[in-house]
């Protein structure tokens, strides 16, 4: 039976990792909800964010790299969107296949530029090393990462809820025809959302890099949890994505305490249970996935 200190540490750690998953899922969910595109390249763009940080950080420092890497990834997203727009209104499978192909190509390009060898990047010096809670050591960097994730989530929420652009985006998700009828350029909107969604993939890439180290296939390890989180939390729901992320993180941590071998599949078990009870996910709305 695990002790209370262990339980609390696993809970804390689960929430921290869960916040990271939620952040990754957010961008994915935005694109899925607004544009009804299943963006399979989301994971590899997460990887690109990490690799850009790896290259830029020694040159310009942590904070500038954190700002610039997602911007570059966002631009990559905009370019990708030029191809993806051909699939709008058609079977969502087309978008999925296109972005899947893009994901494979982008992963190969990572190998071409940075090689297949694993890379390591250290946590920035001001948050390196452990912090001691009396009963357990924990990683300073993870706490920092959690704080950053919470800040970003709040910023995205503020953008969606409190700005006119956010309102337009949400309207576009709900009823794109009406948005067009109101004179808003749907094409520009969709391009912008795609860029925003992909930039939101790059950011967790930058902050997860010191945690999980870099390798070309790290995108795959990000896309699957993102997908699962969105299905658990529900498509189109902002708080669903956050909740889904936290659930996945905590469930994985708890499973390590009792049955470590199931830790990798526990998120899929959780997803299966939730979809059986509520097919739309916990807070989901009607979407193309139906």
């Amino acid at each position: 039976m695990p002790s209370l200190p262990e339980f609390l540490s696993q809970l804390l750690n689960g929430l921290v990792v869960g916040l990271l998953y939620a952040l990754v899922a957010l961008g994915f969910m935005l694109i899925l909800g607004v544009m009804e595109v299943i963006n399979f390249s989301h994971g590899v763009l997460f990887a690109w964010g990490a690799y850009f940080a790896f290259t830029l950080r020694p040159l310009i420092g942590f904070w500038p790299a954190l700002l610039i890497s997602p911007l570059i990834v966002g631009i990559m997203g905009l370019i990708l969107e030029l191809a993806v727009r051909r699939s709008y209104g058609k079977d969502p499978l087309f978008g999925l296949l296109l972005t899947y192909g893009a994901a494979m190509a982008l992963e190969e390009i990572i190998r071409m530029i940075w090689g297949s060898v694993g890379r390591s990047i250290a946590a920035p010096a001001f948050v390196a090393g452990p912090i001691h809670f009396g009963f357990m050591p924990y990683s300073k960097y993870r706490l920092f990462l959690a704080g950053l994730a919470i800040l970003l989530i709040i910023l995205v929420w503020l953008f969606l809820e409190k700005t006119p652009y956010g309102a337009i985006i949400k309207a576009g998700a709900f009823d794109s025809e009406m948005v067009m009828a109101l004179g808003i350029d749907l094409r520009k909107l969709r391009t912008f959302v795609f860029g925003l969604g992909t930039a939101l993939a790059g950011i967790p890439g930058v902050i997860a890099a010191p945690l999980w180290s870099l390798k070309p296939t790290m995108g795959v390890e990000a896309i699957m949890p993102a997908f699962v989180v969105v299905l658990i939390g529900g498509v189109g729901s902002f708080w669903g994505a956050i909740l889904g992320g936290l659930l996945v993180g905590v469930a994985t941590g708890i499973s390590v305490m009792f049955m470590p071998r199931t830790s990798q599949i526990v998120m899929y078990i959780l997803m299966a249970i939730i979809i059986l009870i509520r097919p739309r996910g916990i807070m989901g709305e009607k979407s193309i996935l139906e």
């Binding site: 694993g118 390591s120 946590a123 050591p137 180290s213």
Partner: protein, 433 residues
């Protein structure tokens, strides 16, 4: 006859092209026939390299191939083997046993290679070994370390270059119990190699009167060890005996450092492949572990080998040859030497030339013998520790050797070995004439 643009092909151009094709065909047939007449002497010896270029062991795969290429080039520079040039065909086994099986079959049936060599993941090595035995082709397992490959799953055609978990655990285990602590927690890579390592260490721990306080299994490809580390630290072990390798080990070392776990307990590793540590750098190079070779050993041949490597691979991601590369080199070299000794690439003759062979130019403290009953290369074992930064002679000096163990003291004894190799009569003869 109509050409693409709808014009008829003129008789002139037909004659022109027809003549060219005929000359080409006649020339090709005559050259081919000439080489047929010249016979086997022209045909190169083709080595099938089954190595990981993707997956958990991709970096180590590249390292072992560098060693193999060096050995091949050295032989070719001296005229090849039996007067024949040595060439190779490489297939990526993807750190996945089913891919390894497929690629090995392809090399045998489609590419028609004379020998198979290369292996990091024990799962892959086992799979390749099965395929090889059915065809009768010799397989050199250069870098995998699970015991079963030379124990209950041994085959007549299989040769293991790297030390196995039995050797690592018997070299390192007793030292760790005496010097670091008796309360152990096991971290096991969840596949054949990891489990065999933990099983071996468990036996040693029990024999030395120690106590096992827990085990955690790590699936291949685990990225986040935070939950596992929390669980391990909560149990308060004196020693964490870890059998994890590849990219997963790199991530584990990162996170051990991140949590400061190495200050709370002693991390030990069954073995350490240099490429995994090179990726994390000297700050996270913690623990005590077993290794089979180090580029700073003060022995004849080592400095020269390092210099040859650096000349041949000036841009390699790892600037010095390390244990994985060494095994690739020695494995390839001894295979080719055996073919030379046997006078033929015929498999039974080469196997007989390998069994019982001893060589001293192995850049280690004790000569290496290829044992006849299990086909293990008897390697000198080294106990090493991550070198503190202040003591490093240069950026590649990551290991501090703290013990040297004779191969016979670490290897499994014949009476305990469950290896029952197929007799020669039931092993197909493999010989591509």
């Amino acid at each position: 006859m109509e050409g693409k643009s709808g014009e008829k092909i003129s008789r002139r151009s037909f004659l022109k092209y027809g003549a060219a094709v005929t000359v080409g065909a006649v020339g090709g047939i005559s050259v081919g026939g000439w080489s047929l007449v010249r016979g086997e002497a022209k045909k190169p010896i083709l080595i099938g390299i089954t190595s990981d270029a993707s997956g958990n062991y991709a970096d180590s795969g590249a390292a072992e191939r560098r060693g193999m290429f060096m050995a091949i080039e050295e032989f070719n520079a001296k005229g090849g083997v039996l007067g024949r040039k040595v060439e190779y065909k490489f297939e990526d086994t993807e750190t996945d046993p089913s891919a390894a099986s497929r690629k090995a079959k392809r090399l045998i049936e489609r590419e028609r290679v004379d020998f198979l060599i290369g292996g990091l993941s024990s799962g892959c090595a086992n799979a390749i070994s099965e395929v090889a035995q059915r065809a009768g082709i010799i397989y050199f397992n250069t870098n995998s370390s699970s015991d079963s490959v030379t124990n209950e799953n041994c085959h007549r055609i299989n040769f293991a270059v790297d030390a196995n978990n039995h050797m690592f655990s018997h070299a390192v285990g007793p030292w760790v119990v005496k010097n670091l602590g008796k309360k152990w927690y096991f971290v096991t890579h969840d596949y054949t190699w990891g489990k065999s390592g933990t099983a071996d260490y468990r036996k040693i721990l029990r024999a030395e009167g120690g106590e096992e306080i827990g085990e955690v299994l790590i699936p291949l490809g685990t990225r986040d060890f935070s939950a596992h580390l929390i669980k391990i630290l909560a149990a308060k072990p004196e020693v964490v005996m870890t059998t994890v390798a590849g990219a997963d080990l790199t991530a584990l070392l990162e996170q051990v450092h991140e949590f400061g776990a190495d200050k709370k307990t002693q991390f030990c590793f069954t073995l350490r492949d240099y490429p995994d540590v090179w990726a994390v750098g000297p700050d996270k190079n913690i623990g005590v572990f077993g290794i089979t070779w180090y580029h700073k050993l003060d022995l004849p041949g080592v400095k020269d080998f390092v210099a040859r490597y650096q000349k041949r691979f000036p841009d390699a991601p790892i600037p010095i040859p390390e244990n994985v590369c060494y095994n690739g080199y020695i494995g390839m070299r001894e295979l080719l030497r055996a073919v030379q000794r046997a006078g033929t690439p015929q498999s039974h003759a080469v196997i007989k030339a390998l069994e019982g062979w001893t060589f001293a130019d192995n850049m280690r403290h004790h000569p290496t013998t290829i044992r006849d009953f299990d086909h293990c290369f008897m390697q000198t074992m080294y106990i090493a520790r991550g070198k503190p930064k202040e003591k490093m002679a240069d950026k590649t000096d990551l290991y501090e050797i703290i013990g040297i163990v004779k191969p016979e003291d670490a290897a499994i004894k014949k009476q305990d070995c469950k290896c029952k190799m197929e007799p020669y009569e039931s092993t197909p003869v493999y010989w591509l004439k």
